[in-house]
């Protein structure tokens, strides 16, 4: 038993109180640590505003770039940004980082994801920290009040699908340097990144619902049968959603790290150019 006070049935109440004798806190600690580490790293990188570009590789933290700084170490070239340089009215206290625009959708997508909700409700809100373990002494409203915004997950999904198009474009663009076809370690890193993110996105519960789950009859007409086939594939991914959530998160961070290291000349990209 850990913590709390005993009541009828010998049950204990209070934060983290339980009679569980297994290492329930290990999963909690791993999840909390993993979320803190990877989201912490990506947030930090979003605010650095540099080393996002190592021709022909672009970090997923900065892609697609709406604006880019005019100069600075490892910044995305001006011609690569949709609208060129950052506008003059950009606040001085904020670094000029392309990560603040469309890539932010990825954060919103993960923040409202059904898997991550479980992960951070347990890890950070402790509602509850683990099964049959006492939760944080908070007034619990579930997702009926402040957290109603979680219901917008599917609309962030639309943004994530758009983002996926750009990330695949980046991966294919990584085969060309100055118009010359080739391949480098960075190309493979970017392709794996887009692949894992596709596995994560197409296993999304909202995608699975929209693509076919909302139907009650899968066999009623041709369109339903097609949607059923896609739904089944999405279900396969959905059953591995947690795996893809973590793999893709790790790989986004790794991709950015790799681009940063090449861009800052700490490592040399092996390639055919």
């Amino acid at each position: 038993m850990s913590g709390g006070s005993a009541s009828i049935g010998g049950h204990v109440s209070g934060f983290a109180a339980t009679r569980r004798s297994d290492g329930w806190w290990q999963g909690w600690a791993l999840t909390a640590g993993g979320l803190f580490l990877f989201f912490g790293y990506l947030t930090l990188r979003a605010f650095t505003g540099k080393y996002y570009w190592a021709d022909p590789y672009i970090s997923p933290v900065a892609s697609p770039p709406l604006f880019t700084p005019v100069n600075g170490p490892g910044v995305v070239p001006l011609h690569h940004a949709w609208f060129g340089a950052f506008p003059s009215f950009w606040p001085r206290f904020l670094p000029q980082s392309p990560a603040f625009f469309i890539p932010g959708l990825a954060i919103a997508f993960r923040a409202t994801c059904y898997y991550y909700r479980k992960a951070y409700y347990r890890a950070f809100a402790a509602t509850p920290p683990a099964c049959a373990v006492g939760g944080a002494p908070l007034k619990y409203r579930g997702e009926t009040a402040l957290l109603l915004f979680q219901n917008l997950h599917r609309y962030v999904l639309y943004g994530a699908l758009l983002l996926l198009v750009f990330l695949w474009y980046d991966a294919f663009a990584a085969f060309f340097r100055n118009g010359k076809f080739g391949i480098g370690v960075g190309t493979l890193v970017l392709i794996i990144n887009a692949t894992l993110l596709s596995g994560y996105t197409f296993g999304c519960h909202s995608w699975r619902h929209l693509i076919g789950g909302k139907l009650n009859c899968f066999s009623c007409d041709g369109a339903s049968k097609t949607r059923y086939k896609i739904w089944k594939k999405s279900t396969w991914l959905n059953e591995r959603h947690m795996l893809f959530a973590w793999l893709s998160l790790f790989w986004v961070a790794f991709t950015d790290f790799y681009v940063m290291m090449v861009s800052s000349h700490h490592i040399t990209d092996l390639n055919t150019w």
Binding site: I8, G10, R20, A132, G142, L152, H205, H209, S219
Partner: protein
Amino acid sequence: MATRTFKVWRGDKDGGEFKEYSVEVQPGMVVLDGIHRIQAEHSSDLAVRWNCKAGKCGSCSMEINGKPRLGCMTRLNSLPEGTVTVQPLKTFPLIKDLVTDVSWNFEQNKRIPPVKLKPRDADGNYRMMQEDIDRVQEFRKCIECFLCQDVCHVLRDHHKHDHFVGPRFMIRLAQLEMHPLDTVDRVPAMRKEFGSGWCNITRCCTEVCPEHIQITDNGIIPMKERVVDRYYDPIAWFLKKVFGGSKA
């Protein structure tokens, strides 16, 4: 022969205490066997609900070493060495020892609108294909052990019995809503009366299900998504505001 210490809650709604029993154990024994041996050798008035002893009736739900489990499906050699702690379910009122009053669950079931089938085909038959009912059949594996209800923190810790129907009945709702022949619209009730928004999908219900039903991914989340379809679709909301229309 090896022995194992069982620490079993003895008492009723007015109070009680843990009592320890030393029980001879053999390979293959489950926790319920140990309880039966206590009844036979130490305390014949120890109350426990059980029936099939095969993991199919859902009667012997209890908390073993702090986790909601079926007594008949928990082998002693699957538990860590040392004392085995056995308690009644926490979420429901205690009757005696390991027996709780789970009748609240049956009341919830009565609140759910039953299936209302659409008209038969012209030849007088109903037709549905296997792929249409695969999802529904998963939910029909439920043995109503109520372990999911017990572990659900909305009921267990926050006592929101008046607001949330619990995971067992969310999948009952899903089972009916996804039925290809059913015509009843339960989405408004799912949101209000049955409280789908109270679930914060921490998946403990799925973790404890002895039938391995994917309660959260295949039942609760699809139902939450249907509620989103109806109530939280900003595009539909905007169109309704601009062009008017009745609230579903």
